[in-house]
């Protein structure tokens, strides 16, 4: 997994609440392997009409935001389905950080597994950032994970992220290696548990 420390990039405002993972990656693309290029179908049904023409007013289609690496959105971003491919679609499009007041739990977990930062800010900060990006679209935004700050123009804001997830992103850690270091504890748990909760095993 790629590490995340700090980026400065174009940020695209998506002033929509409850952008769910069905929107981020519609179900009909779930059978695609990642190598097929999920970035090009990110938010397909919002970015394109039914004939495949780009919706000119959709923020990510506007020239000033097309190359965004940061998205600022409304609350409950990534709610719904557990599809990790929604994160692949964002990441493969080029998005490295989503700033929103809240995130779907499963989405936020999937994001950290793939080096995508979910930065939680209060509602008014998200609204202020979106307003500023809309009036002065060229303003680059810097997201610093070590400092846990977002800078945009003359403004600087803090953001929240679970400290464990922060460390994982900063270090690009892989869960499996960490878990394997506890293999003795796992074996001991399993042995004791099989006696203590014999009923928990499937009987057939």
């Amino acid at each position: 997994m790629d590490k995340f420390t700090r980026i400065t990039a174009t940020a695209c405002p998506l002033n929509v609440t409850n952008i769910n993972t069905d929107q981020l990656l519609p179900a009909r693309y779930l059978k695609w392997p990642r190598a097929a290029g999920l970035g090009k179908v990110l938010l397909q049904d919002l970015r394109f009409d039914s004939a495949g023409r780009a919706e000119p007013d959709f923020p990510l289609n506007r020239p000033q935001w097309r190359d965004a690496k940061i998205v600022v959105a409304g609350r409950n971003f990534g709610c719904g389905s557990s599809r990790e491919a929604a994160v692949y679609a964002l990441y493969d499009y080029g998005i490295r950080c989503v700033i929103a007041p809240s995130f779907g739990d499963i989405f936020a977990g999937n994001a950290v597994q793939n080096g995508l930062l979910t930065a939680a800010v209060p509602d008014d900060v998200a609204a202020e950032l979106m307003a500023q990006l809309t009036t002065t679209p060229g303003t680059p935004v810097t997201v610093d994970l070590e400092q846990q700050t977002i800078s945009c123009g003359n403004h600087s804001y803090g953001f929240a992220i679970d400290p464990v997830r922060r460390m994982r992103l900063l270090n690009g850690w892989d869960d499996i290696a960490l878990t394997e270091s506890f293999s003795d504890r796992i074996s001991a748990f399993k042995a004791a548990d099989r006696i203590h909760r014999a009923w928990a095993l499937p009987s057939e």
Partner: protein, 470 residues
């Protein structure tokens, strides 16, 4: 004396292997359910050349991609056929028990798990599907995970988690006839919002919850995720034990007795504290339908489409406007004036035998004004429904009697609602395009879908139940 604990605390403690200083815990996984969509995780395993750590605790089900209306032996779309075949191959390679397309026990994973006695009280259950929260109905700690976590569980039978906050939702009182678990849970989501329970585990409690059958509790816990919760659960009781007893994979004899002894302790102690408490009065709940594009857009059937002009919060007004626009509605329009094009009865939310009986009770002797599909929750539910003659009721009403799978809830098997069409649906998500690009979904109970089908528009089921056995 030990501190008073909630059900959530007890389940957590029983599975905690390691707690790191930073607060994350490594938990033991008792059951891992996989489906065709888990292919990303199996690819991860293949890249590492890793085996499945506990194939005996891993169970595969073909549900997301299987056909539910076409003949099943020949899948027309080669990409969909490949998804189903890939699951077969991965299950065979890793010696995972599979309830595949042609297994008589095949069905939707969240219906099959409880039905087969794989889901038990006190277990920790994960699956790469957000509606894994369903299994909490039996007093299990069950939650959906992403592909990376699926791969981790396959390789280690464990998962890293941060302890969730605890929320108790108490529903006391008696629900009126015709009001079911779907109405209760939609009323809850309308009250707390689609992110009202984010980062929380929910315990559902109160007399109205206790009065629900296991089928009803499964519907309730299924929709916990639509309020943003990590998981939902109901403390196991004699209803649970009766349900579990004798199921194929459930413990037998002395092991069952030991199970009941352990499960009887799985309840919140008096005086245990929750991070948040919410209360509802069951008697005040009317049949609920959704009008918009989020499950929180839910209202009693006698209400009207909200007016964004009356909304002071600009973000909320914007959300309402966009939802009304997508759904093709007018502010202030009576919900009962909304005409539908299609009906769907199915999904892990509402396709169990009790759900099919509730819909059939409304439809018997009546005709649907719109086309519709009934997809039973499992192939065993399908058989039971046929033994009870329910398939005849649906067919006589003009609805299609299909096979079991996720079907038109998520539309990835090709069963979709056409662009611009409006569907009365027993499913769990009314998101834009969830049932197909441009599709408009109204969520409601099976009885309410039946009522909408009969009327050709959203409709109150209660008058249709007069004089009928429900």
């Amino acid at each position: 004396m030990t501190e008073a604990q909630t059900l959530i605390d007890k389940l957590w403690a029983a599975h905690e292997i390691v707690r790191r200083e930073d607060g994350d815990s490594l938990l033991w996984v008792d059951r891992h359910y996989v489906h065709e969509g888990s292919f990303h995780a199996f690819s991860r395993l293949a890249e590492r050349g890793a085996p499945v750590a506990e194939p005996g605790l891993t169970f595969g089900v073909a549900d997301h991609y299987v056909p539910t209306r076409a003949p099943r032996d020949k899948i027309g779309n080669p990409d969909i056929a490949r998804m189903v075949r890939q699951m077969d191959e991965n299950a065979a390679k890793h010696r995972i028990k599979l309830f595949g397309l042609n297994d008589r026990r095949q069905g939707i994973v969240h219906v099959v798990g409880p039905e087969q006695g794989l889901t038990l009280p006190g277990l920790l259950i994960v699956c790469g599907d957000s509606h894994t929260s369903t299994h909490g109905a039996l007093g299990a700690f069950a939650f959906g995970i992403g592909a990376s976590e699926v791969a981790h569980v396959l390789m280690t039978q464990t998962i890293w988690q941060r302890r969730p906050k605890r929320m108790r939702i108490t529903v006391n009182g008696e629900a009126a006839p015709g009001i079911g678990a779907k109405d209760i849970v939609l009323a809850i989501i309308a009250k707390i919002g689609a992110d009202g329970a984010t980062s929380h585990a929910i315990e559902f409690a109160g007399s109205a919850i206790r009065a629900l059958s296991i089928e009803g509790r499964l519907t309730l816990c299924n929709m916990s995720i639509e309020a943003g919760a990590r998981c939902g659960m109901v403390a196991p009781d004699h209803v649970t034990f009766e349900y579990v007893k004798g199921r194929p994979f459930a413990p037998k004899g002395a092991a069952f007795d030991q199970g009941v002894e352990a499960w009887s302790k799985l309840k919140t102690d008096d005086g245990a504290e929750f991070d948040r408490e919410v209360a509802l009065d069951a008697a005040a709940i009317a049949p609920v339908v959704t009008w918009g594009t989020s499950p929180q857009h839910a209202l009693p059937i006698d209400a009207s489409v909200p007016d964004p002009a009356g909304e002071t919060n600009p973000a909320r007004a914007n959300e309402l406007r966009e939802a009304i626009d997508y759904m093709g509605l007018r502010p202030g329009q009576k919900l009962t004036a909304i005409a539908i094009n299609r009906a769907f009865i199915g999904s892990c939310t509402n396709a169990r035998i009790e759900d099919l009986r509730a819909a059939a009770a409304v439809l018997v002797g009546r005709t649907s004004k719109v086309p519709g599909l009934v997809s039973p929750g499992s192939s065993l539910v399908k058989r039971q429904a046929e033994e009870e003659g329910l398939d005849r009721v649906f067919r006589d009403a003009g609805l299609e009697w299909g096979e079991s799978g996720c079907s038109m809830c998520v539309g990835i098997n090709g069963d979709i609602v056409a662009p611009g069409e409006r569907c009365a649906s027993t499913t769990n998500r009314n998101f834009r395009g969830r049932q197909g690009p441009g599709a408009r979904t109204h969520l409601m109970s099976p009885a309410m879908v039946a009522a909408a089908a009969v009327a050709g528009r959203l409709s109150d089921v209660r008058p249709l139940l007069a004089g009928r056995k429900i």
